[in-house]
Amino acid sequence: MAKPRIATTSLCGCFGCHMSLLDIDERILQLAEIVDFDRSPLDDIKHISRRCAVGLIEGGCANEENVEVLREFRRNCDVLVSVGDCATTGGLPALRNMVPLKECLEEAYVHGPSVHNPSGEVPNDEEIPLLLDQVYPAHEVVKIDYHLPGCPPSADTLWEALNALLGGKPLDLPYALIKYD
């Protein structure tokens, strides 16, 4: 029987959740035995190649490309999990939601105290995906099956969650893994 496939992505996140996934240390060998990785920053596969059992989403949607990637995951994954606070709530990037987009760009590229930009132009190459009006949590863009809170969720949390999902058991995390104070 073919191994179940996992895909992961970091949208508007900091890759911290992926680092946390790598923090499962030697258990990654165990993981590699029971799953195959499809699209993921870990293997640099650019698009999902086959139907996946699980998709892990880090980060919310800040630009049009994020939306496209997230939709690709939704179409091709049986179970989609929002991993970490950015995917779940928009997180730190969503702080810009209180500032109009134009002001955000001008502060970042023109008027900011540490900005040196004699041309006064905001980067506008066609390769740069257009920003959305706000940063959206993943579940406001596509249907999300589970949320794993944490910034980042700890390696043990991710490990437990993956095991439960892959083993077809209910996801029941002990309190210690979802308690943050």
Binding site: E64, R75, L101, K102, L105, V141, V142
Partner: protein, 618 residues
């Protein structure tokens, strides 16, 4: 610092004895004099009353009738509740805007007239209505609006807008209002003719304990909505340790669609005040407060006069109990425009001169209420029942109603019926009978108990008005064929969002989330999960808000989900790809497209082809 303002504000503070618990009255007096409570005025008030400045600013920002920005000499407040919307609010608003040349919320350039909207002003039976300063103007149409603006520009005197007076005390020289009573039924109990002084005489001839026993025998329950047994409340208050007990009459009739207290205060003030006096005797209080909502300011002078006459006739004031048993007096505390103040602990906060923030319970007001004093807060109608019970005995009272809900209930009926107004019906009357009384038999839905109550469909019209079935503080809104019930729900949520005091996050945030959710449903962009989300959110709000506002504000959604599931189910759908239908990439990138001058690579045209390729690849 402008010394003129300082002197005037100081004078106002002095008049109220520099009493910080009268801050609301101080701020209101400053508002009336200067049409605002400016930064400077707040500084002076804080200094004079020796309170933190933030307390003053927080109070001014809380109440709708106080403002930091200067208002016009005349403020027109259009009543914008569901019933007024059904009766042409939008046309009236547009006519005012056009004639005044300003938008809602603005003041004319000459500083003369401000146009605002406000929540229900208690005139749903004669909508569309507005407050012009303190003057109530009812049943407007666009022609009348133009005349009103022209007349105001001529004389700037709202009182002159009233051409004909309503019947009864509406034409009293101290009222002179065009408000109509619309009493539609013969009075059985509360609306029966008054036998002034009789109830009080009988009450004083027996002991306070016996008075409480009589009220308990009558099984009188509070008429404001919660239905707490009145006798028990009095017993708790009487048993409380401190001696300085107090009675507060809740006349902050703010539940949209309710106006029965307006009629009681206009036509039966003696019955209300007698009830307060009897309550005072029963619990052992020396004084009482009538908390009157700001929207009913037009009744204030009249009510003060009634109080004065009662003092003159020995029904109030020194030695009212006779035989040197002590005295009892009543003062009127004006509200300043805040729905939440109808909640008893918020009302107590407001009486104490602060923001109308609800308080934690326990301690209950009966132990620790107004300024820490044992307090009994009773509804206007409850107190009228008290008077009647003492006058004619519990047995006569119990003739009406059911075992669990004795007596009668006043209903304020408005909306799609031919005879809106105030009805007195025995508890146990079915909704169907009520609709027959008000000529609204073709109703498709009835909102029982105002926005915080529930929406009832025809399959439940056989339900009874009583505490155990269809419980209501009095508001009955009738919706006829063709009414869009979801837009009613939407309006109710907007109301709660505005009136939430903001203390509890589930209420402050939850009402916004619910409203946004309903907007998605109305736009046909909701997913089936949204409906589950409404249930979960509503449940959390009910469980985790500390006062009745948050505990009831999800009701418009929850009760329509139950009674009218079709409203929702016909407008939600599952997306085949698992995308959220509420999210539109084109809308979300529109601003960036405009700023960058580029067109989105993803939002337009080829989205469908990409989906297909991707699927083929799987």
């Amino acid at each position: 610092m402008s010394t003129l303002l300082e002197t005037a504000v100081k004078k106002i503070c002095k008049k109220l004895d520099h009493d910080p618990t009268r801050l609301l009255d101080v701020a209101h007096a400053v508002q009336v004099k200067y049409r605002c409570v400016s930064d400077e005025a707040m500084d002076v008030i804080a200094r004079e009353l020796e309170i933190p400045r933030v307390t003053v600013e927080s109070l001014v920002s809380f109440y709708a009738f106080l403002s930091k920005e200067k208002k016009g000499r005349v403020v027109i407040r259009l009543c914008d509740d569901v019933i007024d919307r059904m009766h042409g609010y939008a046309r009236i608003r547009d006519a005012f805007c056009e004639e005044l040349g300003i938008q809602l919320g603005e003041t004319t350039p000459d500083g003369n007239i401000t146009l605002e909207r406000t929540a229900c002003i208690g005139m749903s039976d004669q909508a569309p209505a507005a407050l012009v300063n303190d003057v109530v103007v009812t049943r407007m149409n666009s022609d009348r609006v133009r005349e009103i603006v022209r007349e105001l520009r001529e004389h700037m005197d709202p009182r002159q807008l009233v051409r004909t007076y309503g019947r009864g005390n509406n034409s009293h020289e101290l009222v002179r209002s065009m408000v109509r009573n619309h009493i539609q039924t013969d009075g059985m109990v509360v609306l029966s003719p008054v036998n002034r002084g009789e109830a009080l005489r009988k009450a004083l001839s027996i002991s306070p304990q016996e008075v409480i026993r009589e009220v308990k025998t009558a099984r009188l329950r509070g008429r404001g909505g919660a239905g707490f047994p009145c006798g028990m409340k009095w017993e708790f208050t009487r048993a409380a340790e401190r001696d300085d007990k107090i009675v507060i009459c809740n006349a902050d009739e703010g539940e949209p669609g309710t106006f029965k207290d307006r009629v009681l205060l206009t036509e039966f003030p003696d019955r209300v005040f007698a009830g307060m006096t009897i309550a005072g005797y029963a619990i052992g209080a020396d004084d009482g407060i009538l908390y009157l909502r700001a929207e009913y300011t037009y009744l204030k002078a009249f009510l003060e006069d009634v109080l004065e006459r009662r003092r003159r006739d020995g029904l109030l004031g020194k030695d009212v109990w006779g035989m040197g048993k002590g005295h009892f007096d009543i003062r009127i505390q004006m509200g300043a425009g805040a729905y939440v103040c109808g909640e008893e602990t918020a009302l107590i906060s407001s009486c104490e001169g602060t923001r109308g923030d609800p308080k934690n319970r326990p301690p209950f007001p009966a132990q620790h209420g107004y300024l820490g004093r044992p307090t009994s807060v009773n509804n206007v109608e409850t107190l009228c029942c008290v008077t009647k019970i003492l006058e004619e005995g519990a047995a006569a009272f119990n003739q009406h109603g059911t075992q669990q809900s004795s007596g009668t209930k006043l209903l304020s009926i408005s909306g799609d019926c031919r005879s809106p107004g105030v009805f007195e019906v025995p508890f146990g009357t079915t909704l169907k009978e009520v609709l027959g009384l008000c000529d609204g038999e073709d109703a498709i839905a009835v909102q029982v108990g105002g926005p915080s109550g529930r929406m009832v469909g025809p399959e439940r019209f056989d339900g009874q008005i009583c505490f155990d079935d269809l419980s209501t503080g009095g508001s009955i809104m009738v919706f006829g064929p063709g009414r869009d019930l979801l837009s009613v729900v939407h309006a109710f949520l907007g109301f709660f969002e505005e009136e939430s005091c903001g203390y509890c996050t589930p209420c402050r945030v939850g009402n916004v989330l619910l409203r946004e959710g309903i907007e998605r449903v109305m736009a046909g962009r909701a997913d089936p999960e949204d409906l589950e989300q409404f249930q979960a959110l509503g449940k959390a709000m009910k469980a985790m808000s500390r006062c009745g506002l948050g505990q009831t504000s999800p009701n418009p959604v929850l009760t329509t989900l139950e009674s009218f599931p079709g409203l929702y189910e016909s407008r939600v759908a599952e997306d085949p790809d698992g995308y959220c239908r509420s999210f539109d990439l084109g809308e979300a990138v529109a601003l960036a497209e405009e700023l960058s001058g580029r067109t989105s690579a993803h939002a337009h045209a080829h989205a469908d082809t990409e989906t297909t390729t991707q699927r083929e690849g799987t």
